[in-house]
């Protein structure tokens, strides 16, 4: 007796389950992300071609917003200052990476209580930038700030860091470096934990120590940590907004603005609701960020493909 193979009656969904399932799992997250992140990016691009006060009808002006930005750049006006400050932020913020490595090397020991020390050194990263901003505003205060108390010991000062166009950006960056260094430190501490002890021993036998050991044996093994530190530091530098808003509101005389803050000021403050112009500034900031995003994604892509 031959049994006829009757295929189990399966529903269409059941048969195609493995092809449909990923899309069902993706749907809610993808929908949210599209609506709130991806689509707005394009909307901003579009908006940058309009003049709009946020309420009335938007007027199409072509590339005029960008033209205005160009003239602001040419005249060394607000846009120029913001762009310049962004560049300073980018460069100086990178100091968090070696500083973090330095502290990590200092703390990578096994003495009593070191775990608590590591946590406390990490502390600044956990508190909000708003509080960091307040803390440093008082730190720099010309009448009672710790900085001037300290300078006073040497008979210097008082120095009004946040009130002086020459120092203000550097003062804010210094405040930002505090939590950022803590972040880089924790990345490197984790990295150092995983360094291959045999290679260190081999290096020691070959007579490598100190800086040579660090450069030739340790740092190559810390590359993944360095990459992440680089990514988060660049992103952090270009996102700098909270500290500026809390510490100086872009002042004095707009000298501490960066693009992120200038855009906010143009689009959403008492200076007037110039949404289109703000969007144009945001597009410029986005394009700067895009260079880095492309670089990060390329690195990730290579890793995914395994070469």
């Amino acid at each position: 007796m031959s049994a006829v193979d009757v295929p189990e009656q399966e529903s269409w969904f059941h048969r195609n389950q493995q092809r449909i399932a990923p899309w069902l799992f993706l749907a809610p997250g993808l929908l949210f992300f599209m609506v709130y992140v991806i689509v707005p990016v394009f909307q901003s691009f579009n908006l940058s071609l309009y003049e709009w006060d946020g309420l009335g009808a938007a007027e199409y002006v072509g590339l005029r917003n960008y033209e205005d930005l160009y003239w602001e750049f040419y005249d060394r006006d607000a846009f120029y200052i913001s762009l310049k400050n962004n560049l300073i932020w980018l460069l100086l913020y990178l100091a968090a990476i070696p500083a973090g490595l330095f502290i990590a090397l200092f703390l990578n020991q096994t003495v009593w209580g070191i775990r608590l020390y590591k946590s406390l050194f990490f502390f600044p990263f956990v508190i909000s930038q708003v509080v960091v901003g307040l803390v440093f505003t008082w730190f720099y205060d010309p009448t009672f700030g710790l900085l001037n108390e300290f300078l006073g010991i040497f008979g210097l000062g008082p120095l009004n860091v946040l009130g002086d166009e020459r120092f203000v950006t550097y003062g804010i960056i210094f405040a930002g470096l505090w939590p950022q260094t803590a972040y880089c430190m924790i990345l490197y501490l984790t990295g150092l934990n995983a360094v291959d002890p045999e290679q260190i021993e081999a290096g020691r036998l070959d007579g490598a120590k100190g800086l040579r050991m660090l450069w030739h044996i340790i740092l190559p093994q810390l590359r993944p940590a360095t990459f992440i530190a680089f990514v988060v530091t660049i992103i952090g530098a270009l996102r700098s907004f909270d500290l500026i808003s809390i510490m100086t509101q872009g002042g004095p005389f707009g000298s501490s603005r960066v693009l992120a803050y200038y855009m906010f000021e143009v689009a959403l403050s008492e200076y007037g609701f110039r949404m289109g112009y703000g969007a144009a500034i945001a597009v410029i900031l986005f394009l700067i960020m895009l260079c880095f995003i492309a670089y990060f994604l390329r690195s990730m892509y290579r890793e995914e493909r395994g070469y």
Partner: protein, 282 residues
């Protein structure tokens, strides 16, 4: 271990290292300790310019009492919780599914969708600002906690997907194959096989997102206005306006605002650091 363990160094080096540790810490946390000192001083110390001396009387209870019972601070704190906790839940729910989809299934657009999440996570907030504010206004959610929560969930899904997907990739794939051979449906594989294994990732993400969202300032300013919906980061500016020049109260307020993520960090330290340093080690 690098640098050379201090135990193997001469005694003098060990002692100086042990002495340097607290000094370095004091220097590192100096600005913060100053604020802590301010927060227990009486108002009189500031008028008499006794900024850095010992407090002439210990007014910690009074100052913190003012913050808690005589200002909008409790309101702001509550708002922060009501914004942060739903966001954490939403992000974890959405991203465990997206992470599962991108980590387990092979389909052509997989890597591009993944990269879209990663790239979106890096964009500057300003390019989203005007459209997101408009959308929130249109939905009638401007100046509500819900409006803020929805945006935060959406934006953080980018980072969370990256995190979850990489975590799921590292799980043994045989488990899923075995379950499929058994004829278990995909949804049940997700729920009964993969989700229980994701507990450490969920814990790490929860603390991270809690901290990120608690500390958010930009979106709080863009999407909310008054004490009824503003979280503590935005509220502290109005708090400081209310107590202008009362440094002892502003300091106490800042410390209160900073405390919840700090507590979270110390309670869940292992998870927190595991989450933050994901990918820092191969």
């Amino acid at each position: 271990m690098f640098p050379k363990p201090i135990e193997k160094q001469p005694r003098a080096a060990q002692i100086s290292y042990q002495a340097m540790l607290p000094l370095a810490l004091l220097l590192w946390l100096g600005p913060l300790l100053a604020v802590a000192l301010f927060s227990v001083k009486p108002a009189a110390d500031f008028t008499s310019a006794n900024y850095w001396g010992l407090p002439s009387s210990f007014e910690g209870a009074h100052n913190y009492g003012q913050v808690f019972f005589n200002s909008d601070m409790p309101r702001y704190l509550l708002n922060s919780f009501l914004i942060t906790v739903p966001t954490v839940i939403g992000c974890v729910a959405l991203s465990s599914m997206t992470g599962f989809a991108l980590g387990i299934y092979k389909f052509r657009s997989n890597i591009w969708i993944f990269f879209m999440f990663v790239a979106g996570n890096f964009v500057p907030f300003q390019i989203l600002m005007v459209p997101v504010r408009d959308l929130t206004l249109e939905l009638g959610l401007y100046n509500t906690k819900t409006g803020l929560v929805l945006f935060h969930i959406a934006f953080q899904t980018g980072f969370c997907t990256l995190f979850m997907r990489n975590f799921i990739r590292a799980l043994p794939f045989e488990l899923i194959e075995a379950a499929r051979v058994e004829g278990i449906s995909e949804w049940r594989i997700f729920w009964y096989v993969v989700l229980p294994l994701m507990k450490p990732a969920i814990a790490a993400l929860s603390v991270l997102i809690f901290t990120f969202i608690w500390n958010d300032y930009f979106w709080a300013v863009v999407l909310t206005q008054g004490a009824e919906s503003q979280p503590v980061t935005a509220g502290i500016t109005s708090f400081n306006a209310q107590f202008r020049a009362a440094y002892q109260l502003m300091s106490a307020g800042s410390i209160v605002a900073a405390l919840p993520p700090v507590a979270m960090f110390f309670l869940m330290q292992k998870h927190f650091i595991a989450g933050l340093t994901l990918g820092a080690v191969k």
